[in-house]
Every structure is written in C-alpha cells, then in structure tokens.
C-alpha cells in the first residue's frame, strides 16, 4: 500500500526566516507530485507539480520554490518567509492524471 508522509506536522517561524517542508511517498514508483497551499477557511491553491525527478513546474508565484531530489521526495522551501506564507501546506501524489492522494499537511504560522 502507498503511504505519504509530510514533515513537520506544524511549524512556527519568524518573518524573514528560511523554511523547508518535506513530503515522502512510499510504495509508488514515479508518482506525479503536487504542493498545495490552503489559507485558513480557504480553498486549495496549487503551487507546484513534478512528474519526474529533478523537474518541477511552478503554477503560481508565492516566493516559494520546490525541488524533487529523489523519486519519492518533494521539498518546498523559501529563504525568507513572509506573513502571507502562513497556512496549511499539503503534498499530494497521483498516477495517470487521476485522483490526488493527499498527506496530512503541515500547518505553518509565520509571526
């Protein structure tokens, strides 16, 4: 069975500090990977997707970057956090352009 693990579960960070969030998928070879951001009480906004190792496509510009260093790993990062980065970050995987399988998410509070 496939599993998706996001880390950390929650973060409290200062404005201007760096950030790195991670996501690992086990039990699935070459999945399509996605990062979403969700404001409190809001919808999901797609940030990035990746269909293969080393290749990441940006969907919206939010002063964030993403990388896929391994087939099963997706990293979201920034060197300088903004207040507007607060929210819920969700990683997801899919195959064959069908349903998305989401992780449990990371709650980020920027103060």
């Amino acid at each position: 069975a496939q599993t998706i693990h996001q880390w950390p579960v929650a973060e409290i960070k200062a404005v201007g500090s760096p950030l790195s969030l991670g996501c690992t998928i086990k039990g699935k070879s070459s999945p399509n990977l996605y990062w979403y951001w969700q404001a409190t009480g809001g919808t999901l906004q797609q940030l990035f997707y990746s269909i293969t190792v080393g290749q990441v496509e940006s969907v919206v510009q939010l002063n964030l970057s993403a990388s896929r260093p391994k087939d099963d790993q997706f990293i979201l990062s920034t060197e300088k956090l903004l207040l507007s980065h607060s929210g819920f970050y969700l990683c997801a995987w899919s195959t064959s352009n069908e349903r998305l399988f989401f992780g449990h998410g990371t709650k980020l509070s920027v103060l």
Partner: protein, 110 residues
C-alpha cells in the same frame, strides 16, 4: 455554488436532511472530482464523475455533471453528524494543473 477564489460557503442542516452542494467550473473537463476535508487533515476523494456519466452514486452520495453548463453537484441523502466536513469540487484544467472550487463547509447537527 463554489469556484476558485471565493470564500468557503457554509451550510448548516439537521441530521436526516438531504443536502446539495453545487460547483461550476470554467475550463472544459472530462471529469469532476469531489473531495472531503476533515478539520486539520488533507482532502480525500469521495466520488468522481466523468463526462459520459450524467449521474454517479456511491452510498448516500450522488454526483451529477452537466458539461453544457459546466456545472456539477454533490448531494448527500439523510445526512449524518459524521458528514460534517468541508467539501470541494476539483477539475483538471490541463496537464497537471488541478483547480479546486472554493468549498462548502457542511455542519450536520443532531
């Protein structure tokens, strides 16, 4: 109804009632996904409907799709307290871009 960047809608009903949530989408699609998100968790797919299906049922869930009006609906029959959650529709707008609707927060009270 829900789409894009609008705020979450809220619906409050009593247990046993039926409820319908609507979704309209902007770009041609061949499938609409409906996800459920429980508080503090990631969304999970509950039903998907394809363009060649005008209606799809799964237990107490019923989804419809009208490609001519680019709209979809999700109905829950005899809602129960455990149906309390946020519900989103989602469509693929091309390639690997998946757009979620604004969502409906459903509260089912005993």
């Amino acid at each position: 109804s829900q789409w894009g960047e609008e705020n979450l809608q809220a619906l409050s009903i009593q247990e046993g009632e039926d409820v319908t949530m609507n979704c309209s989408y902007k770009t041609y699609t061949t499938v609409v996904h409906w996800y459920r998100q429980d508080s503090g968790r990631g969304p999970a797919l509950i039903i998907l409907i394809r363009s060649n299906e005008r209606e799809k049922r799964s237990g107490r869930l019923r989804a419809t799709l009208d490609t001519s009006s680019q709209s979809s609906s999700l109905s829950i029959t005899a809602a129960q307290c455990e149906d309390t959650a946020v519900y989103f529709c989602a469509t693929r707008t091309g390639g690997y871009k998946v757009v979620f609707g604004s969502g409906t927060r459903l509260l089912v009270s005993p």
